[in-house]
């Protein structure tokens, strides 16, 4: 356990070194959020009655603000560490360590995520709260469900990233697979628009897939779009996929290591 903690701590400290990059990321995420919120405000202004019952503008704006804030936490876009380690062969050193490979990378990624929570997620939420009226979890129960859902979102996203990255065991350069995985999943995560505003049939299907649990579920819990039993069901779906993806990741890893030949030199 101590080894995992040390890995997480080192990775967290590393994030704090990149001050310029963190600030730039913060500004970019905030700016894109402003564009998307502007679109949302204009859509609601055009026809407020068209929104689903109970899903008001404040919820939609909060959802979009949270979507920008969660980018650094789940790192679904632009996480190439494991792809590169496999391509470059550094992964051999990791495999020789007396520590579980998934755990090793998960611990490092958790440290990275915690750092991003303070460097990205919280500052972005504060910035949006200054400019737009936002809502937050309605009561303490909702807040607790949110925290659970938020944590599961990280685990799901990591397991998913781990899975598509280790396809690199089978090809010399896993970058293409990774790009395909990232580009195609973005839509399904609910990152682009609140799932509640999609046609009901589509949103209904998306909520049962693993991707919604990486972004949409914690956002809907935070903005009270999912409440009480509905929220608990959504978190249970997240937990189910967390276990399923974890099992799949371990099985894929075992199969991949058996095939592994690294290039010498």
């Amino acid at each position: 356990m101590n080894a995992y903690l040390a890995l997480a701590r080192a990775s967290l400290a590393r994030q704090f070194r990149y001050r310029g990059a963190n600030l730039a990321g913060l500004i970019t995420n905030f700016f894109f959020g402003v564009i998307r919120v502007s679109v949302m405000v204009a859509l609601y202004n055009a026809n407020p009655a068209a929104a689903p019952a109970g899903y008001d503008l404040a919820k939609a704006v909060t959802y979009l603000a949270c979507a920008q804030a969660i980018i650094g936490w789940v790192a679904l876009w632009g996480w190439w560490d494991l792809v590169r380690a496999l391509k470059g062969g550094e992964v051999v050193a990791d495999l020789q360590r007396p520590i579980d490979f998934f755990g090793l990378w998960a611990a490092q990624d958790f440290g990275r995520a915690i750092a991003q929570l303070f460097l990205r997620a919280i500052p972005i939420m504060l910035a949006f709260a200054l400019v737009y009226p936002l809502v937050g979890p309605a009561d303490i129960g909702q807040l607790l469900i949110f925290i659970l859902s938020f944590a599961l979102a990280w685990f799901l996203s990591f397991t998913w990233r781990f899975l598509f990255s280790i396809l690199g065991f089978w090809v010399t350069d896993g970058t293409g697979f990774a790009r395909l995985a990232i580009f195609s999943a973005t839509f399904f995560t609910g990152f682009l628009m609140p799932l509640s505003l999609f046609p009901d049939a589509l949103a209904g299907v998306l909520r049962w897939l693993p991707f919604a649990g990486m972004v949409a579920t914690p956002l809907d819990v935070f903005s009270n779009a999912l409440r009480g039993p509905e929220a608990l069901v959504a978190v249970a779906v997240q937990a189910f996929w967390a276990l399923a993806l974890y099992a799949l990741a371990q099985a894929t890893f075992t199969a991949g290591v058996r095939r592994l030949t690294t290039q010498g030199g």
């Binding site: 600030l23 564009i35 679109v39 859509l43 202004n45 293409g176 990232i182 580009f183 628009m193 999609f198």
Partner: protein, 264 residues
């Protein structure tokens, strides 16, 4: 010409990895395309955006994506993230030692065929817009459309070059320029009036991305500017595109004179 030989070497290298190129182009097509689908699905519920129909927004979106995709392919070597690496790793010194114009070399260094995916996505959305809008294309409008497209490519390219110039000083690629390049483009995909006044003014008068896409679009739709600028602003696109490119190249050359190698 040496530029053509350099560029064709870059292209042939990518054509070797046909499967990988195809996967990358398809990812970009699907990824950017689904972003449009997400907007269209939400739009469908509300019906309009600041008085603009889905077709009109698709027109802006398609035009912007074709222009940005083409620019990204042609000016890829100036992408601040790519150019910053040349400086960090010292590969720029290698270019400087060759008896070939530096700017031509950078142009030829990173022509990414996978950007065709994004261009195709833009073309599809643009075709959809024309299908639903049934615009009255006069000869003048048909002539002006390619001019607008080229102007937008030059303008976005100027933003990349300006961003690349910054890395002469910062060494690290300056990520904040993403706000102007990618952010300015994202902003172009929507009608200008939906944004706050400070944003509109900034992207009309300071970094005039609105002048290369939004104002020409008003001309194609025969719409007056709801924000009150005169009609001739729609025809400033070529001047703004060429002017921005010329200025950015001057700044780049000036920056180059201040370049000191990292020694890497």
């Amino acid at each position: 010409m040496i530029f053509i030989r350099l560029a064709s070497a870059t292209l042939r290298a990518q054509a070797r990895y046909r499967a990988s190129l195809l996967v990358d182009a398809l990812s970009a097509l699907a990824g950017n395309g689904l972003e449009f689908v997400a907007l269209a699905l939400t739009f469908d519920r509300f019906g309009s955006l600041a008085g603009w129909s889905m077709g009109q927004v698709a027109f802006l979106w398609g035009l912007t994506e074709i222009a940005f995709g083409s620019m990204d392919m042609l000016f890829g070597g100036f992408d601040p993230a790519v150019f910053g690496q040349h400086i960090r790793r010292g590969t720029l010194d290698m270019y400087l030692l060759r008896p070939v114009n530096l700017i031509a070399q950078i142009f030829a260094s990173d022509i990414m065929l996978r950007r065709l995916g994004r261009i195709a996505q833009g073309a599809l959305v643009f075709a959809y817009a024309n299908h639903v809008l049934a615009l009255a294309w006069t000869p003048a409008k048909l002539l002006y459309l390619p001019v607008v497209l080229v102007s937008a490519v030059l303008f976005y390219g100027a933003l990349f070059i300006a961003g690349a110039t910054a890395s002469f000083w910062t060494v690290q690629g300056l990520e904040v320029v993403n706000v102007f390049t990618y952010g300015g483009t994202a902003l172009n995909s929507y009608p200008l009036p939906i944004f706050d006044r400070w944003l509109r003014r900034f992207f009309t008068f300071v970094i005039p991305t609105a002048v290369v896409v939004y104002y020409p679009a008003l001309y194609f739709f025969d719409l007056p500017d709801p924000l009150g600028l005169p009609g001739w602003v729609s025809f400033l696109a070529p001047a703004v595109g060429l002017g921005a490119l010329g200025m950015s190249l001057l700044v780049f050359k000036w920056g180059l004179r201040h370049y000191t190698s990292t020694g890497a």
